[in-house]
Symmetry: C2
Subunit: 324 residues, 2 copies
């Protein structure tokens, strides 16, 4: 079934019960981060639908009272076996709430406790339009369009059709600068990421999944709107930042932070969505594509940095190795 068909079936089943009123995005780490644009999409565009974006174990232990007959849970687990995500899906499923699970692993545990299982593209050369982030966004877009209606639906689909080409060109475009970045940051013990709007999730993922998890580099993802209300005091000529300058309504926030960084910091890597070609997507929907762009452009930097540091991205000391 397509996502459009899945959402249509869920809405039809809830027809006598008042339809969809709450959408909960539930997952852990990168799987939660990938839903960030979908969360911002519904929070921004929906007139009445409520949205939750909650790490799986918090969803289990502090379940929203509203979870029930008007809810949908959208969850993700790459290997399909993240214990708390499987448990969260099972809990919702057993409560009669339809669960849409995104996974890379057919027949994995999460597929047994979910109502709908949806795959996504992954790995070298993948079609960006089929990635987890876009699949999550499509769920949100279909829910909005099939309930309240979404006036920019066609423009959104046009954006989806363009994102793969944009990302692949952008990845080529940053190859050289990624290598330079890797050489200049091989000894760094702290690297901050910065972002805003629907693209902020990419900064969060880069910080926790790459720098902390895969490179053991200290990090935090600073919201460019929050930067001036505390975090900017750590800025000096040695502090390393990667800043996302997004396309869309919150670009002004990113540009303000960049202007400050250009004055007081020296080690600033700029990922500018405009320069990277995102602006060919219609301005009414472009902000929702920042995440896919940045997340995949970071990937070029990540491989260069891992090579330069001789610390492969697959190295772990705890994950999947010890009990936790």
């Amino acid at each position: 079934m397509t996502m459009k068909e899945i959402i249509a079936e869920i809405i039809a089943a809830k027809k006598e019960d008042g339809g969809i009123r709450e959408v909960y995005f539930v997952g852990c780490g990168g799987s939660l981060g990938a839903f960030y644009p979908a969360k911002i999409f519904l929070e921004t565009e929906a007139s009445a639908i409520r949205t939750g974006w909650i790490t799986s174990n918090e969803f289990i232990h502090n379940t929203p009272r509203a979870l029930g007959k008007n809810s949908v849970v959208i969850t993700a687990s790459h290997r399909g076996n993240t214990p708390e995500t499987v448990k969260a899906a099972q809990m919702a499923h057993e409560a009669g709430v339809p669960v849409i699970a995104l996974t890379w692993s057919p027949d994995s545990p999460i597929t047994k406790v979910s109502d709908y299982v949806v795959g996504y593209t992954f790995g070298d050369g993948k079609d960006i339009a089929g990635e987890k982030t876009i699949v999550g966004l499509m769920a949100a877009v279909e829910i909005l369009n099939q309930t309240e209606g979404y006036e920019n639906y066609d423009k959104f689909l046009d954006g989806v059709s363009k994102i793969d080409g944009i990302v692949k060109r952008a990845r080529k475009h940053v190859e050289k600068r990624a290598q330079t970045f890797a050489e200049e940051h091989r000894e760094d013990s702290v690297i901050y990421t910065m972002g805003s709007g629907a693209g902020y999730g990419a900064a969060y993922m880069e910080s926790i999944c790459i720098f902390m998890e895969m490179q053991w580099i200290n990090s935090s993802s600073i919201h460019t709107g929050e930067y001036f209300h505390g975090p900017f005091e750590i800025t000096d000529q040695n502090t390393a930042f990667m800043i996302q300058v997004s396309e869309g309504p919150t670009r002004a926030l990113d540009e303000r932070a960049l202007t400050f960084l250009n004055q007081y910091a020296k080690r600033v890597e700029v990922l500018d969505a405009k320069e990277l070609g995102l602006s060919t997507i219609d301005s009414s929907v472009v902000s929702y594509f920042n995440h896919s762009l940045f997340n995949n452009v970071y990937d070029v930097y990540n491989h260069a940095l891992a090579d330069e540091r001789q610390h492969p991205l697959t190295t772990r000391r705890y994950m999947w190795k010890v009990a936790y």
Copy 2:
């Protein structure tokens, strides 16, 4: 007017228009962080009310489409002059949305563009029950109770009556360990905070407002539920953590993270709400008081650390000093 009266007046004014459907908490840095328990309260307890928790400049540039006749904006600015918060309040006010502004500064700019101005306690010896965090929570509690109803309303008020005594005893209780912490962390360049549930906002504030802003120490606030999905890979015997072990439904998440830290880390400072006396508040509402407890217990550590490092908490290099 009391918060109860303010909310009653707003509800009465919206009576013919469908009442309150959306509550937006808007602010920057510590003023946004202080609303975190109120956000979690409504997200968890409300059956139908939508909640937004948005940094002011993002609220201005990416305004939720739902902002309108059924909305309330609750905002805060300590000095009452944070430019983007004043602008956000003004924007909402001019759109006919009632704005409740929490501020320490009567007659400040934000009071001119808000519909209701509410003060709070602040400074040495303040009554914790009157602090910004509790005032924000009371707005959320009154909104829920006066619309959908809140079955634990009396228990919540009982908690408010107890929090000042609990916090003041807890602050005494940690004096010695805070001094030891300060001595052992005076040379640290990175200190992480950890937390979950309604108390997570205290970890966020400690990280951005104290370590980054007031001590120029690198930091990030790690959600204990997210810790195992990336961040935990930076754990080693040298990494410094302050972990909040909360009271209430997400305590299990914090305990799981602490168990791991106790095995693989050596420099872990534990703030345990149970040990610190929070459990005298009824279990149905206790989780919403973690923030006030932790935030004020951190304060004892902060003063000890600032003294030990000879870096006063008032020192800034950029804030209020340069253009930004």
